[in-house]
Amino acid sequence: MNRTLPNGEDLPPVSLSAGRGLTKRIIPCLDIRDGRTVKGINFEDIRDAGDPVELAIAYSKKGADELVFLDITATIEKRKTLVELVKRIAANINIPFTVGGGISSVEDVAVLLQNGADKVSVNTSAFKNPVLLEQLSNQFGSQCVVLAIDTKKEADGEWYVYLNGGRTKTEMKTTDWAGQAVALGAGEILLTSMNNDGTKNGFALDITATLSRSLPVPVIASGGAGTMQHFKEVFETGNADAALAASIFHYKEIEIAALKKYLSDQLIRVRL
């Protein structure tokens, strides 16, 4: 490996032995509606999957590296419920978590971070008002600004950005939006492929790899996880920094501890 800086200075060697270095992350996602966990299949047909705080504690004990909570009930009165939920999660779990869903202002983010969220994820509001990304990263640092993108591959073979939980198509290509968003201050990309979501046929490896190889920030792949091998593929072929899934974890089709053991056996660095 080339260990020379652009200015010609040599870097000290890093140990590649002894199992050191940043690991790939496994992130269970909890979709929240009215304070309960739900999981949509292809963004529809919502089923109940349990109490989010209980699930969060269980996942943190089983070796989840991080958690994402997406609130899909974005009405004003429910937002207060979300803040209460964030407090309960923060008080009870000892790993980082991200909160998303209906966040559209610096004030929204300030409240969530003050109550214990580590990061927030923004989606439609950032697309409609990209300066929000700049405001958030200036105010709170880019490390806590996750840009969520719902994307769909169209007949022309290109991946496009969708808004409003996948209901609204845009003419924006996903690679273009992701590049702009990172330039504005997004510190991580949470990429959900609508073609793959709910299918259990595997992650969208092509768009994940395209973004991960071109962007200077981590990419979290989401949508399509069905088997342990799918995770191996998204880390190796898709070059993802993290992989997110929901129902396969909620319904115990894959146990996180077993998944991490499998990945470790496949020589993918994970936290055991």
Binding site: M1, N2, R3, T4, L5, P6, L11, P12, V14, S15, A18, G19, R20, G21, L22, T23, R25, S60, D65, E66, A90, A91, N92, N94, I95, P96, L113, Q114, N115, G116, D118, N138, F140, G141, S142, Q143, C144, G187, E188, S212, R213, S214, L215, P216, V217, P218, D241, A242, R271
Partner: protein, 197 residues
């Protein structure tokens, strides 16, 4: 009583929750008298070095922090602010530690992501903070800037280059990672700090 220093950088609440889970009461304050009489002080923070230092100076917390005699634990931005200087905003910092804080370098032909976000290992422990941990313990870390290695380094992490995961000098302790978010490993480290005489 443990006091968590309140200033314009995030992450304060998470530290208080982590102490609560260990059964330890704490208060979050920027009151100089309260901080002075604390048994132990935690100086956390996530954010940008320049506005954070400016805020500390305005509140005269800069002079206070360097004068503290009880154990002080800096976390993340807290560690960086306890160093001499940060490249982030070309900021003069508190100068407790000699190390300089720099932006992670980018290497041609490699797409290593900055910030570093996620779980990495600490090794070469030289502090009681790490008593009871196995080799290469996993900790959660989120940062774009790092403190170089020096004679105050008490744990190392490799990301692009080896850097100071922890620093220590007298009663001043600091970690680059987030013990409050590092699962049971982080709880052991916080407990070791709480147990300091």
């Amino acid at each position: 009583m443990i006091v968590i220093i309140k200033y314009n950088a995030g992450n304060v609440q998470s530290v208080q929750y982590a102490l609560q889970r260990l059964g330890v009461d704490s208060i979050v304050t920027d009151d100089i008298a309260e901080i002075q009489k604390a048994d132990k002080v935690i100086f956390p923070g996530v954010g940008h070095a320049a506005p954070a230092m400016q805020y500390l100076r305005e509140k005269e917390l800069d002079k206070l922090i360097i004068s503290l005699q009880q154990p002080v634990l800096g976390i993340c931005l807290g560690l960086q602010l306890m160093c001499m200087h940060s490249e982030e905003g070309d900021t003069s910092c508190l100068g407790i530690f000699n190390e300089a804080v720099k932006l992670f370098p980018t290497l041609a032909g490699e797409n290593l992501k900055i910030p570093q976000i996620g779980w990495n290992n600490i090794y070469d422990y030289k502090s009681v903070l790490f008593d009871g941990l196995g080799d290469n313990a996993f900790v959660y870390t989120v940062h774009s800037y790092f403190a170089a290695q020096g004679n105050e380094t008490t744990a190392t992490t490799d990301y692009i280059i080896p850097y100071s995961a922890a620093l220590e000098k007298g009663n001043f302790y600091a970690v680059q990672f987030h013990p409050e978010k590092s699962g049971t490993i982080g709880e052991i480290i916080l407990q070791n700090f709480i147990n300091l005489p």
